[in-house]
């Protein structure tokens, strides 16, 4: 028991120095909604692709309790996320932590859409620029007769 208290104290002290401006959540007991708000952005470390706030297993309930404990100890949201990443690896986050290789997943979609859009635009305008073969018809007498007849019908 003493060990546990010491460890938590150490963690809290180390966490307190990290982010000075972070909002200090809850005092004694954070509400389930506060816990769920954080759990929503985490995934169950064991059951695949199940967000932590909806996971029904006993283990997930323990993890949510862990979040509540951390919040009660004064951790900020970001500190809770960092703690979970340290304990369980980056796959526990719902979005890849930005940095290094992970920048690709943030940058590629807009880049691809823009590139695709550009290609579409180019092919549309290129199509338009194609020489109008039909222009030759306008010089014949026949064409004029058709034009006149069409005009007569339209009115």
């Amino acid at each position: 028991m003493k060990r546990l208290a010491l460890l938590i104290a150490l963690l809290v002290l180390s966490g307190a120095g990290a982010t000075p401006a972070a909002a200090q959540e809850g005092g004694p007991t954070p509400s389930p909604d506060e816990v769920n708000a954080i759990a929503k952005n985490l995934y169950c470390p064991v059951c695949a692709n199940v967000p932590l706030d909806v996971c029904g297993t006993a283990a997930c309930a323990q993890w949510r309790q862990q979040i509540a404990d951390l919040l009660a100890a004064g951790y900020s949201q970001q500190q809770v996320y960092d703690y979970f990443v340290q304990q369980y690896g980056p796959s526990v986050l719902a979005a890849p932590p930005p940095g290094g290789f992970n920048w690709l997943i943030y940058l590629l979609p807009p880049a691809i859409v823009l590139l695709g859009g550009f290609l579409v635009w180019r092919s549309l305008t290129a199509w338009k620029r194609k020489p109008r073969l039909k222009a030759k018809l306008c010089n014949t007498k026949f064409a004029k007769k058709i034009e006149d007849e069409l005009k007569a019908r339209r009115s």
Partner: protein, 686 residues
């Protein structure tokens, strides 16, 4: 005996499929109609044989023949009849057999059509269908045989084999493992079949596309022939996805309907290309453009279908859906690689020949807008694909395991969905070949004004979020444009003297494809409204309640009344709470959120209590409770506005597809007349 019958059906069908491929190729090579006819007969025969196999398995499942390993793994004595029958697709082996059965059914159906005009297509269509069928049957026969049985040797070890090994006796377990509790729901009856129907039926347009590529045809015959197939395939796939969402909503206890799970995405991707394909073929039919696009889209749809089937079974990804990892993963991968490479090589070879010399004259013409449509759908596809592949790439290239969650998919695709909604409201008003900003503007301004009014009303009613306002404005706009199209068309007919109702009826009857399509668009808008409602305005809260206490969210409140624990008839331990639902203090009804604990598989399930109206859903979950006394319990409550519109949209899809796909005998006769006259041929009696 039954198992032997089933296995016989499988084996024979497999051999016939191989024979049919060879016969079709040989028939084409030797220009022999007799060999092609033989291949056709082989295709037809696979269907009754596989029906025999499937029925054998279903019989064994219902009969609880536990000596068959598959039956022991997916059924148990406590399962009701309907679940035992649907356990056919509850496990890997059975679902592969089911897939194969559907493939043979569609291949046989295609063989029954009139091939007189498409003799040159026939061998290739047979080849593609039978090759796909042969692959799946090979998977079943050699890797995931549902008919292997359990035997026990003298020493007591149990192993599986098809036929009685020497010195071993049949081993019949006392009870089976039972179906995964997540799958024990009426939704189980219909979601997988519908999804598989959608997947498998897309093989047919693909087969015809390959036939067109191989035979060197650059016209749109293959599209016109498969037009209805594509439409119906699209409907099945859409319904499969919607049913899956509904089932997740009802049963999983997540308060939501779509988790962007990799397997969900794997089923969603062929829908994206399939929908783009459905629209894009219209352009090829009308103006001979987009030939490359259409072939590419249908090839992608086929391979995404197989890829989706592969992802769930290979162990490459882990997911709620994933079947246990097995050896068939690498083989699926090989099949996809080969089919993709061959299809793309065929397309590449014919690339230049497919170029159209028709031009696109205006950026706002219908053709240009459809190009934009293709681009948007393919962009969403690329984003989804990237999201699925990225964790794989990250793990291999950096060793770091990451998750790509809903936030990525939602934020990356949101603007694209909005653009698609906008397109739905602009493209119907654009003209073929030429639309200028002025002509389009003239058609648009009235519905646009109306939709802005609607948006203003919503703003006044307190809706502040810009995303929701934008979405609802677009929805209103599309509804107005679509209604305007109906009204305009009926009006034009009215001028000829019909009354409005008759005019409307005749209008739709004469242009089924177009107006059926508009009805489907309205369905899409309904789904969009439902999604906007739940995504932007969902409220949730969780709290521990003593008996009599209330939990409040939005203008609803729930009150904890009581909790009871009991054993159900089918081996579940049920903890069922009773809560009263109040709206603005007025009692609405009782709900019964509960937790089921399946004794045999030791798995808990959280079933929500659901109160659904057109306006909102109140969704209550029992999270935990004080054991023995039940004096207090923790509940989670979601208020989901407008969610029911999503399911309504699905029904409208059905109506719209029926209208669009309904055969038009009158039109067919007229078309036939026109074509015959154009060729100078006498009218053929049908």
């Amino acid at each position: 005996m039954i198992a032997d019958l089933g296995f016989f059906g499988l084996l024979t069908a497999f051999l016939l499929a191989l024979y049919g491929c060879a016969a079709a190729l040989y028939g084409h090579w030797q220009r022999s109609p007799r060999w092609v006819a033989s291949a056709r007969a082989a295709t037809l025969l696979t269907f009754p044989l596989l029906t025999l196999s499937a029925l054998s398995l279903v019989y064994s499942l219902i009969d609880l023949d536990f000596q068959i390993e598959y039956v022991a793994s997916v059924t148990s004595r406590s399962m009701p009849l309907y679940l035992r029958a649907t356990a056919l697709w509850g496990g890997q082996a059975g679902s592969l057999l089911f897939w194969s059965w559907l493939m043979s059914a569609f291949a046989a159906a295609v063989m029954l059509r009139d091939w007189r005009r498409d003799r040159d297509f026939q061998p290739w269509v047979i080849l593609v269908c039978l090759a796909t069928l042969a692959f799946f049957l090979a998977m079943v026969l050699f890797f995931e045989n549902p008919f292997v049985r359990l035997w026990q040797g003298i020493t007591g070890t149990v192993w599986t084999a098809l036929w009685q090994p020497g010195g071993a006796l049949p081993y019949i377990p006392r009870d089976g493992n039972g179906l995964n509790p997540l799958l024990r729901h009426p939704g189980m009856i219909i979601h997988p079949p519908m999804l598989y129907l959608g997947f498998v039926s897309f093989v047919i347009p693909f087969a015809f596309a390959i036939a067109a590529l191989v035979t060197g045809r650059s016209d749109d015959r293959w599209i016109r022939v498969t037009r209805r197939w594509t439409l119906v395939a699209w409907l099945f796939l859409s319904l499969g996805l919607l049913l899956g969402s509904r089932w997740a909503y009802d049963v999983l206890g997540w308060g939501g309907y779509w988790g962007w799970d990799p397997v969900e995405i794997a089923a969603f991707m062929p829908w994206l290309t399939g929908t783009a394909f459905l629209h894009s073929v219209m352009i090829q039919e009308k103006r001979g453009l987009f030939k490359h696009w259409n072939l590419l889209l249908v090839i992608l749809t086929y391979d995404l279908v197989i890829f989706g089937t592969f992802l769930t079974r290979s162990g490459v990804l882990s997911s709620v859906h994933a079947f246990a990892q097995s050896a068939i993963g690498p083989l699926f991968f090989l099949f996809i690689s080969v089919t993709l490479a061959v299809s793309l090589a065929l397309l590449s070879r014919r690339w230049q020949a497919l170029k159209s010399d028709v031009e696109m004259t205006s950026l706002l013409s219908r053709e240009a807008l459809f190009l934009l449509n293709n681009f948007l759908f393919v962009s969403i596809l690329v984003i989804c694909f990237l999201g699925v592949i990225f964790p794989l790439a990250s793990e291999i290239l950096t060793g770091q395991q990451i998750t790509v969650g809903p936030i990525y998919y939602e934020s990356a695709t949101r603007p694209l969905w909005a653009a698609l909604l906008l397109l739905m409201g602009v493209a119907p008003l654009s003209a073929w070949r030429a639309s200028t900003a002025r002509t389009l503007g003239r058609a648009i301004w009235k519905p646009l004004l109306g939709s802005v009014l609607v948006a203003a009303i919503m703003l006044l009613n307190g809706i502040r979020q810009p995303g929701a306002l934008l979405g609802l404005w677009l929805c209103a706009y599309v509804v107005l444009v679509t209604s305007y199209e109906f009204w305009r068309g009926a009006q034009a007919r009215q001028a000829k003297g019909e009354n409005f109702a008759l005019a409307l009826w005749r209008l739709v009857a004469r242009n089924r494809r177009r107006y059926g399509g508009y009805i489907i668009h309205v369905g899409v808008v309904l789904i969009a409204i439902g999604i906007i409602g739940i995504e932007f305005f969902q409220q949730e809260t969780q709290g521990r309640l003593a008996i009599g206490e209330q939990l409040q969210a939005s203008d609803y409140a729930i009150e904890y009344v009581s909790l009871a624990e009991f054993q159900s008839a089918d081996g579940r331990l049920v903890d069922r709470a009773v809560v009263n639902v109040y709206r603005d203090g007025v009692f609405v009804r009782e709900l019964y959120p509960r937790q089921d604990f399946y004794m045999e598989s030791q798995q808990p399930m959280t079933i929500p209590g659901l109160h659904s109206t057109w306006e909102t859903d109140v969704y209550v979950l029992l999270v935990s409770w004080e054991p023995i006394t039940g004096g207090s319990a923790t509940f989670k409550m979601y208020v989901n506005p407008l969610v029911s519109w999503v399911w309504l949209g699905g029904f409208v899809f059905i109506v719209g597809t029926l209208v669009a796909a309904w055969p038009n005998r009158e039109m067919q006769a007229v078309e036939l007349q026109a074509r015959s006259r154009a060729r100078g041929l006498p009218l053929k009696a049908r």
